[in-house]
């Protein structure tokens, strides 16, 4: 297992390197002239050239990439041409919000999706199954941005149960920054009131965001549970009198979850890259909005930074998933 982890960690290096190269190439080969924009509305051609020089954009692409790469090792993610802020600083500001949102959504999705999928499989082709499947398909089909809008209208405007947008009451001070995730920080510093408040802000966007992974996890869980239920060993377990509960929650669950695990890993990355839709609606100051802003101004350093950052998280999460998979599957573990 340790060897396996080490090998996977070593493999991260070429993957991230390749990723950085790919992203750098894509971002830099796109047409558009962010330099002119950065130089300001009244800049002359000479001004533009000086800005390009300032950012090293007059150098060959390979040199630029090399500079970027070596910078990365020093923790320098480059500087936004547009705002002239270091990308690393921006990421540190935006990423925790997105992570909080994605983690909350994933927790919800996993926490609900797995039992629901199990239930649907057990009641296969009966009404709980049909209901769960139809609703889950509905949830997948619902555009998240549309759902967000409807949620805002319903829960914030008409019912007034939850805040409309943002992360925390504006005029109150947030809990001290530790991780940047407000709910976590509130708990860590023991501010339970602040935790509740932060949670109330988190609720709507997290729910809007969790539906799609929830439905996918549920369906995946249902499918894999059905498959496991049809395995010979389940018949043997039943034939030897083990209770339905024990079979389902011990023997079937472990096997079924390992198949669902991969989906969870993939979805995590997918959500990270797709938060922009929900962030827009709920004014959640996350990486998605940052990326969109960067895309719209073709500010490539932030684009590269965000993509690389999400890619790295994605790869890491999948590494963790693979390890969990190994933990659940002795065959993998002992290879």
């Amino acid at each position: 297992m340790v060897g396996y982890i080490l090998r996977r960690l070593l493999l991260l290096v070429p993957v991230l390197l390749g990723l950085s190269m790919l992203v750098f190439a894509i971002a830099r080969l796109l047409p558009g002239d962010p330099v002119a924009l950065a130089a300001g509305p009244n800049a002359t051609a000479a001004d533009v050239a000086s800005v390009a020089r300032e950012f090293g954009l007059d150098q060959p692409l390979v040199v630029q990439y090399w500079n970027y790469l070596t910078g990365l090792f020093r923790g320098d993610w480059g500087v936004s041409i547009f705002t002239r802020r270091p990308v690393a600083e921006d990421l540190a500001a935006y990423l925790p919000a997105t992570l909080e949102l994605v983690l909350a959504a994933m927790l919800l999705a996993i926490g609900l999706g797995i039992p629901l999928g199990l239930m649907a499989a057990v009641f296969r082709n009966k009404w709980p199954d049909f209901l769960a499947r139809t609703v889950s398909l509905g949830a997948i089909s619902m555009p998240r941005f549309f759902l967000g809008l409807v949620f805002q209208l319903l829960f914030a405007m008409w019912l007034g149960w939850l805040p409309l947008s943002g992360r925390f009451p504006l005029t109150e001070d947030p809990p001290p920054q530790i991780t940047g995730m407000l709910t976590v920080d509130a708990l860590l510093s023991g501010q339970f009131h602040a935790f509740g408040v932060a949670l109330s802000y988190l609720a709507l966007p997290a729910i809007a965001m969790c539906l799609s992974p929830l439905a996918t996890i549920m369906r995946m869980m249902r499918a894999s549970t059905i498959e496991v239920l049809q395995q010979d060993y389940v018949l043997t377990e039943r034939a030897l009198g083990l209770s339905q509960k024990l079979i389902l929650f011990k023997y079937v669950l472990k096997n079924a979850i390992s198949a669902t695990l991969t989906v969870i890993g993939l979805y995590f990355g997918w959500l990270l890259g797709g938060t922009v839709l929900v962030e827009t609606v709920f004014d959640w100051p996350g990486i998605g909005l940052y990326a969109t802003q960067a895309v719209l101004t073709q500010d490539f350093m932030p684009i590269i930074g965000v993509t690389l950052c999400i890619g790295a998280i994605f790869v890491t999460v999948n590494l963790v998933v693979d390890m969990l998979y190994g933990l659940l599957n002795p065959k993998v573990r002992y290879q």
Binding site: L137, F146, L149, W270, G273, I303
Partner: protein, 291 residues
Amino acid sequence: MSSTTAHPRLESWRRGLYRFRQSWVSVLGLLIVSVLLVLAIGGQHLAPYPQHIAGLVDTSARLQAPSTTYWFGTNELGQDVFSLVVAGTRISLLAGMAVVIVGAAFGVFVGAIAGFLGGWVDEVLMRLADLKLTVPGLILAMAVAAALGPGIVNMVFAIALSWWPGYARLVRGEVMAKREETFVLASRAMGAGTNRLLWKHILPNIMSPIIVKMSLDMGFAILTVASLGFIGIGVKPPTPEWGSLLSVARVNMPDYWWTAIFPGLAIFMAVFGFNLLGDGLRDLLDPKARR
């Protein structure tokens, strides 16, 4: 128990059809998709105000609530929302289909090569696909679409760019599994070449999962198209694309809700319909979902 390999094809088709009919949700999906197809094909003729689709503005009748004259009300330019939504069907369906087809075609090509040839070709192609999977798709699509400028073709290209690795992975796995099947071995033993093995023996036998994935992806592709439209990087005006319609209309919420709700519902219905259908098709075609 021992006869799971014995599913003859016709029998499984019949069995699948039986299942498909059994599940009313699949039939519902088929129904929705049929309606969408009708709208996509005959939309221009079915829309009550075809001139609005072409760009006629009637600022004196702007933002009217739904009525018998304007079933879904009018938008900020006085255009009939119903006509726009109907016209949007074709765009969304076409774009969704194009994304899926382009993505699938490229993915199948890459996956087939990787799976069949194996070795370093496989390694290189699959690492590339993995790499592609780690790049957040929506952000990439946004970046590419924004850079190429608006337009359906550009958008389809931008989205399809992040679509192929899924197919490549699927096809590779299937090809590798099928490559070891006895009937392929039989053909190899007879001396069949790569082309014959791939085109006659392997690909026809892996079409089912590809078709299933394509039908399941349709909904997601439509959703992605709409998402790009929503962010504001999509088709060119005055093309009535649902995501852009919704994007434009969100500022009108909640007072002029009809401008947003109806395009939103249209997206939902289309995606829902294709998802239901895809689910049904999977029961029909996917050997893994059988039994």
